[in-house]
């Protein structure tokens, strides 16, 4: 089945071929069947807002396809991107479990398929399936890990150059399994990269120009190649 956004929709969790590769979805047949009964599958275009920081929790959003940007905002409108969520992640989890407002805003970066589960259905589902509760605990642990990492990066990095170097090294590490680990597609704009490291768009543009001049990186269109990884590592741990 094709959706309007060119997504090949996964119609049923029971027949999903990607299930086994995903931490949350790889459940027993009984648990998958019950999940199938309470989820609403939706396709979103790029730029759709799934939930907003401060909003009362309606439920969880299981990201089946596409990527989603998770960000927080200050009262004066500054945005900090905390993470780019990948398929298989459950969004809005801690708010749905605790009943507190969503602590982040989730906005799709690509056309996405999302399975939504209403809060009351999800909490009942957890009570009925201890294996799912354990998976949820693992996902929450990962989210806590991410938040601590972000605190360390934001609170203990001394300069924007250090933070940008750290981010590029992280992306390079994630890309480690590919044939060209030092080469990656920049999926984010300079503005969004600035929002990931808590600085301004102008600073990011200036730093990229500086890194290029010092032959630390090469930029061709949206393809970034790390030419001198050691120089980036020195910026992170001088």
């Amino acid at each position: 089945m094709l959706s309007p956004y060119g997504l090949e929709i996964i119609e049923s969790c029971l027949t999903c071929k990607l299930r086994e590769d995903r931490l949350f979805c790889n459940l027993s047949p009984g648990a998958v069947k019950d999940l199938e009964a309470i989820k609403y599958s939706t396709a979103y275009p790029k730029g759709a807002v799934l939930f907003v920081e401060g909003q009362a929790p309606r439920g969880v959003f299981i990201l089946c396809k596409g990527r989603t940007k998770l960000s927080i905002c200050s009262s004066d409108g500054k945005t900090l991107i905390l993470k780019i969520a990948e398929p298989g992640e459950v969004l809005g989890l801690s708010a749905t479990v605790s009943g507190k407002p969503y602590e982040l805003t989730a906005e799709t970066l690509d056309p996405c398929q999302v399975n939504f589960v209403k809060r009351e259905d999800f909490l009942r589902y957890l009570r009925d399936h201890n294996e799912v509760t354990l998976r949820v605990a693992e996902q929450l642990s990962d989210k806590y890990n991410t938040a601590c990492h972000e605190i360390r990066s934001l609170g203990l990095s001394h300069s924007a150059a250090e933070k940008l170097a750290k981010l590029l090294l992280e992306w390079s590490d994630k890309n480690g399994g590919s044939k060209t680990p030092g080469r990656m597609k920049l999926a984010l704009t300079h503005e969004e990269i600035a929002q990931m490291i808590g600085t301004s768009r102008e600073t990011v543009t200036r730093l990229f120009a500086d890194f290029k001049k010092r032959q630390i990186i090469q930029l061709k269109g949206s393809t970034l190649t790390i030419r001198n990884k050691q120089a980036l590592e020195t910026l992170v741990s001088p």
Binding site: L80, L82, L134, A147, I151, L154
Partner: protein
């Protein structure tokens, strides 16, 4: 790592985490939980676990307090918050099996309960009511951590040095 220079505490300390001993457990779960605990008195300055260390046990703070912090590669320390009696520490690392993301150090003489990781995970598998409470505790931890990200990230964004 522990002896690095401290960043001023007043900005980063936080008391948002609620009291969190397991409550309303079934009789059987309470009995099983008691059976896997080891109680110990520890002096001030005891490092209960360190950032980067593999998780081997959950630590429950019975009395006293513990400072939770993260370190930079230069040895600078950022205090996330002060844990209070009743809190389970090292929860996310023990559940995920990944290295501890924070360091926990007692700030006064404290009484703590150690629960071996494998015993704790078995306990969670066997008692869904306890597992549900752990999920709620983790949700609170995530909320508190995001609050800290907001406070630090937004403050730093205004004073970024290039």
């Amino acid at each position: 790592m522990i002896n690095g220079s401290d960043i001023p505490v007043n900005f980063f300390t936080c008391d948002v985490a609620p009291p969190r001993l397991f409550t309303h457990l079934s009789l059987e779960a309470s009995r099983d939980f008691a059976a896997i605990q080891t109680v110990q008195e520890v002096p001030r300055g005891t490092v209960l676990f360190s950032e980067g260390q593999a998780p081997t046990a959950i630590v429950m703070l019975q009395s006293g307090s513990a400072r939770l912090s993260v370190c930079s590669s230069r040895g600078e320390r950022l205090i996330l918050r002060i844990a209070k009696p009743g809190e389970l520490l090292g929860l996310s690392a023990n559940v995920s099996g990944k290295a501890h993301e924070v360091t926990a150090e007692t700030t006064i003489p404290s009484q703590i309960v150690f629960i071996k990781r494998k015993d704790f995970l078995r306990f969670l598998k066997e008692h869904s009511d306890a597992c549900m409470q752990v999920v709620q505790m983790l949700s609170n931890d995530v909320h508190a951590a995001y609050d800290r990200v907001r406070a630090i990230g937004m403050a730093r964004a205004r004073h970024v040095r290039n």
